[in-house]
């Protein structure tokens, strides 16, 4: 599964902004697991499912490699089950025929119990890992290329393989609002090509930059992006960002398909997207406008993780 030849390009998991999935079903007093098998698959996935150790990024890519039809038509834990089954077969840990045959036997014999095998030492190790976590922040010598308040453009990248730059956020103008130190780079880590840590930033992109005039003026998406996903916005130095949100568009926005009732009451207030927003500054406090050497949210994490940097990079178990 880590063979880059098996990597997929622009999978259906990258679903931000796709229409047609209907209303959101909000279940009251939802149980953690709806069926006992879901809890077993969750547990199996967390303890490694008898598979060779792989990174979380690689596991995510295994899910992304489900066929589009399977991905879209499966429930959440059905996808996890398919991931585990696919990986077990690919690695030769189990054969498809073995699984088929055992499933048929269990269907014919519903009272048959799952055998048990306990391993308290291994179990303690896994519980300790859950408690300790696996920080992805790394210390690198390279200085950050961007600082808070820098204007950037996200690159239009379409890699064959895992990436955390979603389609909706490619080729968009935004502003850096946070720097988190350097983090493991998923695009290589998912494929066994190394951690290659890069500086990680929170980027704010105006909703209208993403979706055009039908979007609201006072909404934005904040997304965490690695340095190689970003370029300096050279045009921003010459023009003001207000020009990207012409006020004439307000007319279009009003006319477009926004649910009329929800918004009839107050006239929408325009707010300059260029104005630094006080509570972002607070949320990411410590990040100074000058940026580079400034203390950041992750600066703390960086310092802390330095103490425990013997932590293995891989999500092995």
């Amino acid at each position: 599964m880590d063979n880059p030849g098996d990597a997929i390009l622009n999978g259906v998991h990258d679903i931000g902004g796709v229409d047609g999935f209907g209303a959101i079903h909000h279940e009251v007093d939802e149980p953690v697991f709806h069926e006992p098998w879901e809890s077993r698959i969750f547990g199996m996935s967390m303890v490694g499912a008898g598979l060779p150790p792989i990174t979380l990024d690689a596991r995510r890519h295994q899910l992304e490699r489900l066929t589009p039809v399977q991905y879209l038509s499966s429930t959440y834990y059905e996808r996890w089950l398919a991931r585990i089954e696919g990986a077990l077969v690919e690695t030769g840990t189990l054969t498809g025929e073995e699984i088929e045959q055992r499933s048929r036997e269990l269907a014919a014999e519903p009272g048959r119990l799952v055998p048990r095998r306990d391993d308290p030492v291994r179990t303690d190790g896994i519980v300790n890992t859950l408690r300790a976590g696996r920080p992805t922040v790394r210390s690198i010598r390279q200085r950050p290329r961007f600082a808070v308040n820098d204007r950037i453009v996200t690159r239009n990248l379409n890699p064959h393989g895992h990436t955390r730059l979603p389609r909706y956020a490619r080729g968009r103008h935004g502003i850096i609002v946070g720097h988190h130190g350097a983090h493991v780079f998923p695009d290589t880590n998912a494929h066994g090509l190394g951690e290659n840590p890069q500086h990680l930033y929170t980027v704010r992109i105006a909703m209208r930059e993403l979706w055009g005039p039908s979007a609201e003026a006072n909404e934005s998406v904040l997304i965490d992006l690695w340095e190689s996903y970003l370029e300096k916005d050279k045009a921003a130095a010459r023009s003001t960002p207000e020009k990207k949100v012409p006020s004439a568009k307000k007319v279009l926005a009003k006319a477009s398909a926004r649910s009329a009732k929800a918004r009839a009451r107050t006239a929408s207030s325009k707010r300059s997207l260029a104005t630094p927003l006080p509570s972002i500054k607070r949320a990411l406090s410590g990040v100074k406008a000058k940026g580079k050497g400034a203390r950041t949210v992750a600066g703390h994490a960086l310092a802390r993780s330095g103490e425990s940097s013997g932590k293995p990079a891989r999500r092995s178990r």
């Binding site: 279940e27 077993r40 089950l81 699984i99 499933s103 055998p115």
Partner: protein, 207 residues
């Protein structure tokens, strides 16, 4: 839970779904081959079913509402401040807490998969992982919040946080009115999971 009884009750075993059969087949085969520890699965499931859930996040928020110095630390370094209350670990290694105010409303999502701050919120609810929420919240947040019964004034700015890296976000909702006399524990009981994700508000005080 090992669900030996619920799934394979001695009297009337319920027919298993295809997914349940495959999960059971895989678990059986891996145990027989000595590749899987049954107790490890039990423990992990128990932790996320019983120990780790949104009550943790609620305690963090209630502390911040009561203690301005703690609130400052929480907004400055979420991971460290949350660790002060004994919470942390997998999927909460790099925490950022977002303060909702009368002017700014934050809401959290993961469009690419299901990233969620486990140590403070537990495992995500189904709707958070649904294709509908993942696809829509970054496109039409007000319409989505409306479906959750949350109507925000037009003047309130909305920020949608897409958890695309390993930074995990938790929202600190506004403290409800008329709660000055409540204890920290009482305040925590007003903090819902939805309010910690940003699709709801903290509960008003019951009259």
């Amino acid at each position: 839970m090992t669900d030996q009884e619920s799934e394979r009750g001695p009297h009337h075993p319920r027919p298993l779904s295809p997914a349940a059969l495959r999960a059971k087949a895989i678990e059986s085969l891996l145990v027989e081959k000595g590749l899987l520890a049954s107790d490890a699965i039990d423990r992990v499931v128990e932790i996320y079913e019983k120990d780790v859930g949104p009550l943790n996040g609620a305690k963090v928020v209630a502390r911040a509402w009561c203690d301005p110095a703690y609130k400052r630390r929480l907004l400055e370094d979420g991971t460290a401040a949350i660790a002060e209350l004994g919470f942390g670990g997998l999927q909460g290694e790099h925490m950022v807490v977002l303060e909702n105010t009368p002017r700014v409303h934050n809401v959290v999502c993961c469009t690419l998969c299901s990233c969620y701050p486990w140590p403070v919120l537990g495992l995500p609810p189904t709707w958070y992982k649904s294709l509908a929420y993942r696809s829509r919240i970054i496109r039409e947040p007000r319409a989505v919040l409306h479906e959750f019964g949350l109507e925000l004034p037009e003047t309130v700015e909305i920020r949608v946080w897409d958890s695309s890296a390993e930074i995990r976000y938790m929202v600190m909702p506004e403290r409800p009115a008329a709660t000055a006399n409540l204890s920290e524990a009482e305040l925590a009981s007003l903090v819902t999971r939805d309010s910690l994700i940003g699709v709801g508000l903290a509960e008003p005080v019951a009259r």
